[in-house]
């Protein structure tokens, strides 16, 4: 028994290393100076940790203005754009997703299968597959270079999964409780707001986080629909940065850290809810 526990812990350490090491390396790079980042063999632990790379994004003129200067200046604006798109998509997912999921969960017209199927179909359409016509559509709607286009497209792409997730969770909430609320003198809307939605909080949060993360990480759509540094989102800037052979490794790593931080904090913060939110949807499916 003892040996088994030790083995379990050994595996857990291994797993933790697998999960963490890549990000840690990026973090380490981000707090190194350019010269240390270039050292061979690499310094696993920085000798002179510095926040210069981070400062550079707020005060571009300060130090390494030459390397990837365009990316640096564009970053704050792009981050803001990403946040705006991410939050909008999250809200849209929660609002429209829960409305649709509620009807699927409560009106029993073979919802589960149809929903799963709808999800598959919409996921089946690869972004690359519809990017051309979408581009034409957005051009005609004069939505190119606008954040609205991104919100619309990202919402369309994430919504089926959200609905599927929410409907699974909603089904675990007994109908009795809603009815009790009606008996207790709530209108339908009040019953939703005071009783149903609070009970669904974990899944609503999971859905919102999922929507935010998906659009936060989305790359192809902003790459296509936006041009110029003012309108685009963070992933595009990072990719410009990453594909630039002159890029400063420390700065590149730092920009990565910036991009990782918000979803990372969200995931940690809402860890419990995300897992329990996924549980109902995924298991019952």
């Amino acid at each position: 028994m003892k040996a088994r526990t030790i083995m379990v812990y050994a595996f857990m350490v291994l797993a933790a290393a697998y999960l963490l090491a890549p990000v840690l390396w990026m973090f380490v790079l981000s707090i190194m100076t350019q010269s240390e980042a270039l050292s061979v063999p690499p310094h696993w632990i920085p000798e002179a940790p510095t926040l210069d790379n981070y400062m550079a994004f707020f005060n571009p003129s300060a130090s390494q203005a030459t390397m990837g200067a365009a990316a640096i200046t564009a970053m704050p604006g792009a981050m803001l754009n990403s946040v705006i798109v991410g939050l909008s998509v999250a809200v849209a997912n929660v609002v429209f997703g829960s409305m649709a999921a509620y009807s699927f969960a409560r009106l029993e017209f073979r919802g589960s299968n149809a929903l799963m199927f709808g999800y598959l179909v919409s996921r089946m359409v690869p972004a690359v597959g519809i990017m051309i016509p979408l581009y034409v559509v957005m051009q005609n709607l004069h939505l190119l270079n606008s954040l609205g286009a991104l919100v619309l497209v990202e919402t369309a792409e994430t919504l089926p999964f959200s609905i599927w997730l929410l409907a699974g969770y909603f089904r675990t909430i007994p109908r009795d409780i809603e009815e009790a609320a009606r008996i207790d003198r709530c209108t339908w809307l009040q019953a939703m707001i005071k009783v149903f939605l609070p009970m669904a909080t974990p899944c609503l949060v999971a859905t919102g986080v999922f929507g935010f993360m998906s659009s936060w990480g989305s790359f192809l759509y902003p790459l296509l629909f936006t041009s110029g540094s003012g309108n685009t989102t963070m992933p595009v800037i990072i990719s410009n940065f990453a594909t630039d052979i002159n890029a400063d490794y420390g700065l590149l790593a730092t920009s990565g850290m910036f991009a990782v931080l918000p979803p990372f904090l969200l995931a940690l913060w809402f860890q419990r809810w995300i897992v329990s939110g996924f549980t109902a949807g995924a298991v019952k499916g």
Partner: protein, 368 residues
């Protein structure tokens, strides 16, 4: 405060008819139990009274007001669910206060009422807990509290005791009855447990196949079942049913038991003109006495003896039909013995081939 009238109520779900035209007139302050096997339409009826379900046709009146088209929140009803349906994200206090808050009562009044209800139910100590921290019995009390805190016109109960263990169920039975007399409100109580209906209700509606088989006091139901279904459903152990032929001639009605030579004189006059028809004779196990073989009206062989002291249940085989006898004799009946049976003629129930009671004037319970 509210008389509840149910008029030709019908509920269909797709192709199936759950409630098939029922009429019940519930008096103010009455405790009415609706009892029946699962799927008989009792829950649908309750849900239509509550407003959670809309009837396909028919009317429901509270007092003089037609509430048929009002939704649950517009009617003044309180309800206790089988699953209790407590709000998991609220404390017990807020659970109980919730309906009052929705009615926009002043907070002082809300607090006072919650305290009073909690005290009545003995759950004052639990007020700050969450539902998940409570036992089944405690949850049940909270659900009751959430109902009685209201001054509702009608109180509805949907099998509220079926999730409790047997002992607690008996305790709650008497508490509910006490609660009814303290509150002085109209109670409608749905259950599949005929014992609950018998012990608590002023009147009982027995339902089967979406129809009311009989509506009456517990005594009516027990001693004068209107149909064979009611007779068999109410009472444990259930009533014996003997198949046979009813002979009606000048000397009076006689019942000839299938598979035997026995004929029982019923000593009653029947409304029917027919001389001969197949029928069922019902008799409760406690209305049969064990006698010497030659003294009985029927003769049979003991098939099984179950001592459930102080009573003993004895199954007697009479020409292939089984008859259960409940007795507290001190004599030890032995399996295989030949015995005679004496039936109390005043406690015989005769049902025609359709299961309808054939009026026997000698039965107890008076006329109605």
């Amino acid at each position: 405060m509210a008389r509840v009238q149910i008029q030709s109520l019908v509920k269909r779900f797709g192709g199936t008819t759950a409630v098939d035209g029922i009429d019940i007139d519930i008096e103010d302050r009455e405790f009415l139990a609706i009892v029946g096997p699962s799927g008989c339409g009792k829950s649908s009826t309750l849900r239509m009274i509550s407003g959670l379900e809309q009837p396909t046709s028919g009317h429901i009146l509270f007092g003089d007001q037609d509430v048929t088209r009002l939704s649950a929140d517009q009617r003044d009803v309180a309800m206790v669910f089988q699953s209790y349906a407590l709000y998991p994200h609220m404390s017990v206090r807020r659970n109980i206060a919730f309906p009052l808050e929705n009615m926009k009562l002043p907070s002082g009044e809300v607090a006072a009422r919650v305290d009073r209800a909690a005290e009545m139910l003995g759950i004052t100590a639990l007020l700050d807990r969450r539902p998940r921290e409570l036992s089944g019995g405690q949850r049940q009390r909270v659900a009751l509290g959430r109902a009685i805190v209201r001054d509702a016109a009608v109180f509805l109960f949907d099998e509220p005791l079926s999730n409790l263990d047997a002992k607690l169920r008996v305790v709650m039975r008497s508490e509910l009855k006490k609660l009814h007399s303290e509150l002085g409100q109209t109670f409608v109580y749905v259950t599949h447990d005929q014992a609950e209906a018998m012990t608590m209700a002023d009147r009982i509606a027995v339902m089967a196949n979406g129809q009311v088989q009989q509506l009456g006091t517990p005594e009516d139901i027990y001693f004068r079942p209107a149909t064979r279904f009611v007779a068999e459903f109410m009472g444990t152990p259930s009533m014996n049913m003997l198949e046979g032929t009813l002979l009606n001639n000048d000397s009076g009605a006689q019942f000839s038991l299938t598979g035997t030579v026995h004929t029982i004189s019923l000593g009653i006059s029947l409304a029917t003109e027919r001389h001969q028809q197949s029928a069922t004779l019902g008799i409760r196990p406690e209305s049969i006495a064990l006698v010497a073989p030659e003294e009985g009206m029927l003769r049979g062989r003991i098939d099984l003896v179950e001592p459930l002291h102080p009573d003993i249940f004895i199954s007697v085989d009479i020409g292939g039909q089984m008859l259960l006898v409940r007795t507290n004799t001190s004599a030890k009946p032995v399996v295989g013995d030949e015995v005679g049976l004496r039936l109390e003629t005043g406690s015989l129930h005769l049902f025609d081939a359709d299961g309808k009671r054939m009026d026997t004037s000698t039965a107890a319970g008076g006329s109605k």
